[in-house]
Every structure is written in C-alpha cells, then in structure tokens.
Amino acid sequence: MDNINGMDIDLRVRLGELRLRNPVMTASGTFGYAREFSQLVNLHRLGAIVVKGISLKPRPGNPPPRVVETACGMLNAIGLENVGVQGFLERKMEFLRGVNSRVIVNILGDSAAEYGALAGKLTGIEGIDALEVNISCPNVKKGGVAFGTDPAMATEVTRTVKGQTDLPVIVKLSPNVTDITVMARAVEDAGADAVSLINTLIGMAIDVGSRRPKLANVIGGLSGPAIKPVALRMVWQVARAVSIPVIGIGGIATAEDALEFLLAGATAIEVGTANFYQPRAAESIIDGLRAYLAAQGEDSVRAIIGALQIDEA
C-alpha cells in the first residue's frame, strides 16, 4: 500500500495462489536472469520477474543474425538459447533469491515429458514462486507443430506439468492461431492456474540487396509496440472466455499500455521488448498506474481489471 495525495493505493493482485505486490512483471527472454538489469533497475520494486526460458539441457540457440528491427517492433530468432535447468539452479538462482520480488521460471521442451521433468526439477526450490509454460515450441514428436497451436497437445503439456508440481502454473499462449480462446479454454480445463498472452507473432524480413533473409533462421518472433493491438484484442477475448486470471503481454511500454490490458481484463501484465530500449519501463509503469488510479479516484488496481465499458449496440 502506498499513499499518494493522502489516498491509499493498493496495487496488489493475485494470480490464483500467487500474490504479487503489483501487477507489473518482466517477460521471459527480455530480462535475462534479472542480474543483467541490476545496475539500472530497482529489481525489488517489480511485481514478478519471469526468467529466460529454461530447457532440460543447455541450448546454444540459433546462428546469427538473430535480431532485426522492424517498424515499431523487432524480430528475434534466439532459438531458445539458455543455460539449462541445472545451470540455472546452480548459477542463476542465488542472485534471484536475493531479489525481493516473485520469481517465475519460464520452461520449454520438445515433448510433454520434457516439460514435466522440468517442472519436477524446479519444484521445491527456494525462491521459485511459479512456472510459466511456453507452449510456442515445436513438438518434435508431432513433426514440429507447435504445442501452442493444437488444443490437445496444449492440454497434454499442461496436465503433465500440473502433475509434477504444486507451484502455480501459468500457461503462455501463442497468438499464431485462428481462435485463441479455444487454446485458453483447453489449458484452463487441463488445470492451468493462469494464462499469459501473447507470445510473439511469426514474422520475417528480407535484405533486398543480398536477397537473403535478415535472420539466419529465416523466420522469427515479432514483438514490441507493433503487436500491441493484436495482443490487446486477444487478451480481451480470452478474459471473457476463461475464469482463471489472464496476464497481458505484447508491446507494453508505458502505464497507458498496461492500463489498456488491465481494463481489457488482464490481472497482471508483462513488459517485454520495452526492457531493451527503456530498462526502467516496468518501474515507470508502476508509478504511472498509481498516478492513474489516484487521478481516477480508485484505491485499488483491482477496481479497474476488466472495467472496460462497452456501449450496447
């Protein structure tokens, strides 16, 4: 609770059993393992930190070039480079335990079994508060179709992870689907405690001089302000379709952006690409939420979650 202009502003939110001091989180893959930002950001103020996606074994990632700027956005094809779950626990958790914020571990695998094994290894570890399951990865058994585009596969991953952990499980949805509410309902039914969305849209860029793709991987994930309208629409749709909490992600850089997602029904938000160009984005969003609530005469951020008003036609 904070006091602005003599008013108490309560920013706390709950994602199932996970209680956050404020709804502002940092998105996986855009905030490293938090230490990278420790000189520039007051990490202790964040609602939660979602770390870079972790797999069972370390992954080297894709060949360069891996990133390219686009209009109001960027494409990345990092290829899920990460230190692996063991490296993470040995080399990254100690620093994270010293941060007075929630730590959420983003996990990824090539099969439901891998997701389950990861969940098991990350459970019962001091300092880990929840898991975020990245289902945008290709299922190697099913010929590389992403788990996140098939409700049955998403169900299987969610069930397997839930079976291996008592941590709150957030399932992170891919936007590259015809109807994201189908995916959201599938993982809700499978026991997800919350959903987060969106992951990146699939995009591409070509260097016309060399006639080659700008990314070595040819295609990559589009993120940043460019995708915000799509993300916001999907969050609004999903928030009306499920009864578990929704975490909004996609192009959020300012308090106004965050408020759009909260009004559309998100209980919390994640700041992604904005961390790259404005490391203090999350902190200034926290300040901006408080200022907005004070100006609007609200004493709790929870009052505005889903408070979008739509005129009857």
Partner: protein, 261 residues
C-alpha cells in the same frame, strides 16, 4: 561494473566530413566510469520508430563529465542523430561491455578503419596516462578519402603517436588497405588493437597470429539491448560456440573469434 542511464544534454555537434559527425554530451556518470573500448546505447528519438537504441563506442571522455561519440550516417537512426542540435537531450546507457585490455605498456599499434577509429582515440588518450611517450607507438588509420581521415590523423599525431594513413581513393597516405601498413612494423610490435570492418580486422588478426603478436579486436553486431539480456548479439567464437558481443565483448582477443564467418 557500474552502468548508468543518463539523459545527456548535447553540448556540441561537429560535422567532420560529409555524413560523419561527432557529438559531445554531458553524461558525468558514464564519463566517470567509461573504459576504452566500451560503448553506450543511445536512444535516437522519443518516437517508437526506430525502436531500438543504437550502440556507439565511447570516442572520448573530456573534462567536466562529457563523452563523445563519432559516427557515420548509414541508416535512419544515425540520420536522426545527425539532425540533433545542441540543447537536445540524448538518453544514453553505459558504459557497457568489456573494453580493451590495458594492464601494461608495450610497443603498440592501433589500427582503425572507418568509424572503427572511434574507440581508438579514447584508447590512445588513456594509454598516455601510463606516463610513457607514445612516440614509438603506431596509429594506422584507414578511410575513404583525405576528407574523411585527415582530422583524425592530426588528432592522433597531436597526442604524440606515429600516424600513418591509408585511403581507398589514394587522396592521402597509402592507396589501399590500412592493414598493408602493418607488415613492416609488425615484428617490432608487442600488441595490436584494431577496430573497423570485419574483413579488415580479419587480416590484422591473421597477420598478428602468424607473427605471434597479441591482438585485440572490437566487434560489431546487431544489438537489441546491449545488456546481455536479449541474446541477440551472438557471433561465432573460435571454438564454434556462440560469443555474446555486448557482454563478453565488444573487445575480444583475436584468437577468440571465428574469422571464417
């Protein structure tokens, strides 16, 4: 290592040659901490297009807490920087990355090609602080033309270095590659520092390798964050593993880099 984000007022803009500019900003925290070879991530505009910050080497730290960057207009980000006027503010993050290894004083050669000159001037100045005369140390500068290179040649000369120049058009110094200048002096050198186009640095690295001279290079790659978070700035290392330019570099020992790519 300390890092800062500063809204740095632009104090001076110098047009060095067509399309080449030097900006002086007041950024006392970054200036106080910067080491030669480190860089800053500069936000070129408040607009979301272009979205990402641009990396620039610290070209010089001057008294009163100022830093300089030197750049060439190559795209929309640098074009916008070139339009700024004194009084404008530049949001800078830095100093970032690992700079040149400066433990002790050797017989040195600094080789800069194009805008690769930028970090070398800061390096050359810092080296002076060791107290030894730079008269036996070489600075080789390569550029397109006299117009592009002559000011820098004079500035390094004024520091006391032995300066040689090459130009693409032959308008000043050697007509050809700047690395051509290295051969005659290499046997006498103990250490080479180089920054410039990849093919130029490759040649320098190869020559140094053959002569068993310690060589450091400053690499460029596309960067989204400069902070070690995005993992976008990889190049391939000598052992085939990926190296992350923003944190492990931008300065590397030449032998750490896979020069084949």
């Amino acid at each position: 290592m300390p890092e800062f984000q500063e809204k740095a007022p632009l104090l001076q803009k110098e047009a060095i040659a067509p399309g080449i500019f030097r900006l002086t900003m007041h950024a006392p925290e970054i200036a106080g901490a910067a080491h030669p070879g480190q860089f800053v991530m500069v936000q070129v505009d408040t607009s979301m297009d272009p979205l990402l910050r641009r990396p620039f080497s610290v070209h010089q730290v001057t008294s009163g807490g100022n830093i300089q960057i030197l750049f060439k207009v190559v795209g929309q980000g640098t074009a916008r920087l070139a339009r700024l006027t004194p009084g404008d503010q530049l949001d800078c993050i830095g100093p970032l990355g690992r700079g040149f290894f400066l433990d002790r004083r050797d017989r040195l050669c600094l080789i800069g090609g194009g805008m690769g000159i930028a970090p070398l001037y800061f390096l050359a100045k810092r080296l002076l602080q060791t107290g030894e005369s730079p008269g036996d140390d070489y600075v080789f500068l390569g550029g397109r033309s006299r117009e592009e290179i002559s000011l820098f040649a004079a500035e390094f000369f004024d520091l006391g270095y032995t300066v040689k120049v090459s130009t693409d058009d032959g308008s000043m110094g050697h007509h050809g590659f700047v690395t051509d200048l290295l051969g005659p002096v290499l046997p006498d050198m103990e250490r080479v520092y180089t920054c410039g186009p990849f093919p130029m640095m490759r040649i320098a690295a190869q020559k140094c390798g053959q002569a068993a001279v310690f060589c450091q290079v400053s690499l460029e790659t596309h960067m989204a964050c400069g902070l070690g978070a995005c993992l976008g700035c990889t190049l391939t290392g000598a052992d085939g593993r990926y190296i992350h330019v923003c944190r492990q570099g931008p300065v590397f020992d030449a032998e750490e880099v896979a020069w084949t790519t």
